[in-house]
């Protein structure tokens, strides 16, 4: 029998990890829900954001938490432009083209990173890197605790935007009824690009939350994109709550799985869940809301 004292910290730890997974997955699920695009470039865009946060710290001495709004804004612009002038233009409205275009973008970004930064793994140290937050039931590294709180805060902001603002209503309208949207004067291409922009802005923020307790390398995106896809499938494609709950669940699975099977195999549990889901509940736990 495993001691409760070990299990509980492991769960708490998993939740902190899962919140950031959830954030990355939220970006993916938003883009899928609105544009019906499976964005294969999501992972490499996260990797690019991690490098941006890394060099903002290493080169400009900018604390990742301070850099967060800047990076979110910058990646919003990147995402908006990508959708409006690359993906939207190149795909001619065909889904298989969209897949190829996002895959192409992902390969381009990854190879550019390999060329520029080699395969080296880089980390940063912040003043709080080794500080621990004592929760009584568990000790949590400060960067993890901040990442958890900020990720949930950003998710809440995102939820509010989607549910309570005109922009959010327009985004949901376009997801389901494009003709109707045009007839109330919604600029559909603009809203598509805004959605994609928001989905990538989230990556800019996630990168800043991850970097202090993680690393960056040209292939780091793959780790997250697999997890994010699992989360999105787990929660139901396009479901906001699903991504959030799914992210947390995956984080806990990985952490507790690591406890039983050893660090290296922690992620194995995730993919077992993934395959089981595809077999038994392919629409996910929450179905689809946006899509």
């Amino acid at each position: 029998m495993l001691e409760f004292q070990i299990l509980l910290p492991s769960i708490v730890n998993g939740l902190t990890l899962g919140a950031v997974y959830a954030l990355v997955a939220l970006g993916l699920t938003l883009i899928y829900g609105v544009l019906h695009i499976i964005n294969f470039a999501h992972g490499s865009l996260l990797m690019a954001a991690l490098y941006a946060a890394f060099f903002a710290h290493a080169g400009l001495g900018l604390d990742p938490y301070l850099a967060m709004p800047l990076l979110a804004a910058a990646f919003f612009v990147v995402g908006y432009a990508l959708q409006r002038w690359v993906i939207g233009k190149a795909s001619h409205g065909k889904d298989q083209n969209v897949l190829l275009v996002t895959l192409g973008i992902s390969i381009a970004i990854e190879n550019l990173a390999l060329y520029l930064f080699r395969a080296d793994t880089r980390t940063i140290e912040t003043p709080i890197s080794y500080e621990m937050l004592d929760l009584g039931i568990a000790l949590v590294p400060y960067p993890r605790a901040i990442g958890f709180a900020a990720a949930l805060g950003i998710a809440a902001l995102l939820w509010w935007t989607i549910e309570r603002t005109d922009l959010g209503r327009a985004i949901r309208a376009v997801a389901k009824e494009r003709q109707g949207a045009k007839l109330v004067g919604i600029d559909v291409d603009h809203v598509f690009a805004l959605s994609f922009g928001i989905g990538t802005a989230v990556l800019g923020a996630a990168a800043c939350l991850l970097l202090p307790s993680f690393y960056v390398s040209p292939s780091v995106g793959n780790v997250f994109v697999l997890v994010a896809f699992t989360v999105v499938v787990l929660g139901g494609m396009g479901s906001f709550t699903g991504a959030l709950v799914g992210g947390l669940a995956i984080g806990v699975t990985e952490s507790v799985g690591g406890l039983f099977l050893g660090q290296q195999l922690g992620q194995l549990g995730i993919f077992v869940i993934f395959i089981a889901l595809l077999l038994f509940r392919p629409t996910g736990l929450f179905g689809s809301r946006l899509a």
Binding site: K176, L183, G185, D187
Partner: protein
């Protein structure tokens, strides 16, 4: 009488061959104009090209003082030319309330709260269903919602594409009464219909479209007695 909407020689289509072969029509402020025609005549194609959903091949569309021939739908909505489309096209995943609010997305935002109340007074059934997802409304309720959403944009001209389609006879009656009432309040209406008798009863003028061409036009009262029209559409 200067026209509010003026369409000249509109040619449009989807594939290689045109559907509309030069349609000319106008609507003056304060008028109800009926556009009649059988299935596949090209009425919806006409509307959608006028509203900018498709780009017309040739011809000219002006609205008020503006040439809107090559405008985006958003620009056209901003000017106050609003279409309630065939098939309603409400946002099924949004609540009734949200559908109405989005009606004022591009136009009428300043008076949104007031217009919202006004629409609910016009359609009391919608008030009982404000939180319900629009996709779960009955066909008739969806039609009310689609019209309500259109009214939220403070239209200068409302194009209604087959508003009576799929409604029970009683609701059809109500629908035509409503259109007449909105018109009495000053709204110009282009009424696209197959319901010839009732349309001609409330319209000031009418056009008949066949195979993408306007084949007959004139005062509604005159057309109602036209032997050719009676023969083609009423079978007498």
């Amino acid at each position: 009488m200067s026209a509010l909407l003026s369409v000249q020689d509109l040619v449009a289509g989807y594939g290689p061959a045109p559907v509309l072969h030069g349609a000319t029509l106008d609507v003056a402020a304060g008028e109800i104009v009926a556009l009649l025609g059988s299935n596949g005549a090209g009425k919806s194609t006409f509307n959608n090209n006028v509203c900018g959903l498709y780009r017309a091949w040739a011809g000219r569309v002006s609205f008020g003082d503006d040439d809107i021939t090559a405008s985006d739908p958003a620009r056209i909505v901003a000017r106050g030319l609003i279409q309630v489309p065939e098939g309603r096209r409400v946002f099924p995943n949004l609540s009734v309330r949200e559908n109405l609010l989005l009606g004022a997305y591009r136009r009428g935002h300043a008076n949104r709260a007031r217009n919202f109340e006004h629409v609910l007074e016009t359609f009391p059934r919608l008030r009982e269903r404000l939180a319900q997802a629009a996709g779960t409304l009955s066909g008739g309720e969806q039609q009310m919602l689609a019209i309500g959403r259109g009214l939220m944009a403070e239209p200068r001209l409302l194009i209604l594409d087959e508003p009576s389609l799929g409604l029970s006879p009683l609701l059809v009656e109500e629908m035509f009464a409503l259109i007449e009432r909105l018109n009495k309040e000053g709204l110009a209406v282009l009424l696209v219909e197959q319901n010839v008798v009732q349309s001609l009863a409330i319209a000031h003028r009418a056009y008949v479209m066949e195979n993408g061409r306007i084949v007959l036009s004139g005062q509604a009262r005159t057309l109602a007695d036209d032997p050719a029209l009676r023969k083609a559409y009423l079978g007498m």
